[in-house]
Amino acid sequence: MVSQIEAQLLRDDSNLKYDTNMRIYLHQLIVKLGRKLNLRQVILSTAEVYLTRFFAKVSIREVNIYLLVTTCIYISCKMEESPQHIRTILSEARNCWPEFVPNDLTKLAEFEFYLIEELDCYMVVHHPYNSILDVVNVLKDGDPSTKLDISPEELQTCWSIINDSYITDLHLLFPPHIIAIGTLYITLVLGIDVRKTIANSAKLPDPRMDNFVKFLASSNIDLSEVIETVQEILTLYEIWNSYDEMTIRNGLHHMLLNMNR
């Protein structure tokens, strides 16, 4: 039995790694199912944290990630107080990935149980979305020397960077306010269209940076953690530019279809 599993798992799926490319793919699966079900962003973010924590313990070669993504969303709907019926979730997931999601409620219920156990029953997740609003408010009515107005478009950019940051490990490493500050920093330095700026690397420095730096200096925030956050997000965008969905998907499907054989 053991050798059988071993053989199955160690088969030549060398391109199947839990690396940033794979995580971008998983992120897009979650977003896809979330859009279909018309869910709030915070539910998807919670689901993505569950997913990251699950893969800190379990190898990607052992699970059906499509069922895993469905289960993560099902649980996070419950935890964020907007429960969806198990049938609704399952049928939407089957619409998205008919060949990989089994048409069996008990499979989903069983996986849910396994996931909760794997997460040690710690299901409450705090997100940077509230922190960023707090920070913006503090900056707005703060001390004149650090006063800073963040426009709604910039807030929107921060918001999308936070959404993207769930691809990384950041939410397992740092408290929400660190990530909020990190995204605000990126927005101020790189402007509203962050990914374009990274590609062209041309933007004039923002005159408001002085105030923001003063604010950071007097804020007691752990700056090394903020720097790490910024670095990690920039690396993510860099990798994203050369992201190739087809390779990942083919590798995964090859593995999943062989698993059942």
């Binding site: 071993e6 790694k17 219920a109």
Partner: protein, 433 residues
């Protein structure tokens, strides 16, 4: 990949994509046990979780595997001495056969499952194990259970029960709590336990502090009653059972209705707005239950004992009087108000019945807690500032807990009453035969 070295995970230093295979082998050990739900080594809680080095070698398993509850009543008794000798050791692997928790007896029951008193064989600590049965759940993990777990993990207050651990088994989830000797319902039913007025004040203040904490966190308990209020042998009160509790929806209730379920709170402690079908209630529903308990501390039995929903409403009207438009102008917006309109107007008999039993300030507080219109009901934070807590007698340490013989939960009190009743019946049969 960029050239920058990736930083490392704090929890798993070797974590890296390249180390993938390590993680795989790490997990693979568990397949030897031929289990799908693999078991991860779990450290025992508490600094005294040290080992018995002389424990038998051989066919033993590491004890900090996932605990399993068994009915085993025998346990090795050489452990306590070992602790004494190894006092300085912070943590050490334990060789222990079988389960960590030894079940002692049942102390409670509900729709969710059962509550057991149990002993941690490693630390000797007494715990309450709340078992949620999941066999009948076709929908997966019940939302009430996930709410309860999430809420309990977010609490930190001396008057709210603390969740020390969770255990997951194939068909059940166990929640591990510190054991509490009594519950308020069990104690109040024992006529031989005498509670002084100062002690009552102490109990009630602790209860209000707990509720105030919950309400400040925008949590509604929705099942306040005597058997959900625990007392330990040091006189600390803790609110328990968050199986019906929920966080309030973050909406403007003037614009849209929160639409909570109406099927909450044990009948005798249900406030009038719930009995009249409200689904946009708020934290006030807990305050009514608190008011009922204040009266119960003095009378020793529940104040409104209805047999069904409608009878419950009549019982409330009998004592508190029927609803008048002056005190509750928008009462006709409640769903079942017209349907359950009483035939005649009744005055309030509350003062007549309880005015002499309670001190004037205490009576005043009870009136405010039991206001029929939820908008007029006092909040927990205001109740804590009520003059009742200033007047004599001042609150006293709970001395009666030292004198209590046995442990009284509502479950045991019920059992005792049932046994008494059966004995009486037997006696009667004997006498008549």
């Amino acid at each position: 990949m960029s050239g920058r070295p990736r930083f490392q995970r704090y929890d798993r230093p070797q974590y890296n994509d390249e180390y993938y295979d390590d993680r795989y082998y790490y997990r693979n050990d568990y397949y030897h046990n031929d289990r799908y739900y693999y078991e991860e080594p779990r450290l025992p809680t508490g600094p005294r979780a040290t080992s018995a080095p002389t424990a038998p070698k051989g066919n033993t398993q590491p004890a900090f595997k996932r605990a399993k509850v068994s009915n085993k009543n025998v346990m090795e008794d050489d452990e306590d001495d070992e602790f004494a000798r190894n006092d300085m050791v912070f943590m050490r692997p334990v060789d222990l056969k079988g389960a960590v928790f030894e079940r002692i007896n049942q102390v409670g029951e509900g729709t969710y499952g059962k509550v057991y008193k149990a002993k941690n064989k490693i630390t000797g600590q007494l715990v309450a194990l709340k078992r949620l049965r999941l066999e009948s759940e076709r929908e997966g993990f019940p939302i009430t259970a996930s709410r309860e777990i999430g809420l309990l993990q977010s609490f930190n207050h001396p008057n709210i029960v603390g969740l020390s651990e969770m255990m997951v088994e194939k068909n059940a989830v166990y929640m591990v709590f510190t054991y509490m000797n009594h519950d308020l319902a069990g104690i109040l039913q024992q006529a031989e336990i005498v509670i002084s007025d100062g002690e009552k004040k102490n109990i009630f203040k602790q209860l209000l502090r707990g509720i105030n904490y919950l309400h400040a966190k925008k949590v509604i308990h929705r099942d306040i009653k005597g058997s959900n209020i625990l007392l330990d042998d040091k006189g600390v009160l803790k609110i328990t059972d968050f199986g019906l509790a929920r966080r309030m929806k973050n909406i403007n209730s003037n614009v849209e209705s929160p639409n909570y379920t109406n099927r909450v709170i044990t009948l005798w402690y249900r406030p009038p707005e719930i009995l009249l079908g409200s689904t946009d209630y708020g934290r006030e529903v807990d305050i009514w239950g608190i008011g009922c308990i204040l009266i119960e501390l003095f009378t020793r039995h529940a104040i409104f004992q209805g047999t069904d929903e409608i009878d419950q409403l009549w019982k409330v009207y009998d004592i508190m009087g029927t609803i008048t438009v002056e005190e509750w102008p928008d009462c006709n917006t409640l769903p079942w108000f017209e349907m359950l309109r009483p035939n005649s107007h009744k005055p309030s008999l509350f003062r007549h019945k309880f005015g002499s039993l309670l001190s004037p300030q205490c009576f005043n507080l009870a009136t405010k807690l039991l206001a029929k219109n939820p908008k007029n009901r006092i909040s927990a934070s205001d109740a804590l500032r009520h003059p009742y807590f200033m007047e004599e007698p001042q609150e006293q340490k709970l001395a009666f807990v030292d004198k209590i013989e046995g442990e009284w939960h509502e479950f045991e009190a019920k059992k005792k009453r049932r046994q008494l009743r059966e004995a009486k019946q037997k006696e009667m049969v004997k006498n008549s035969g």
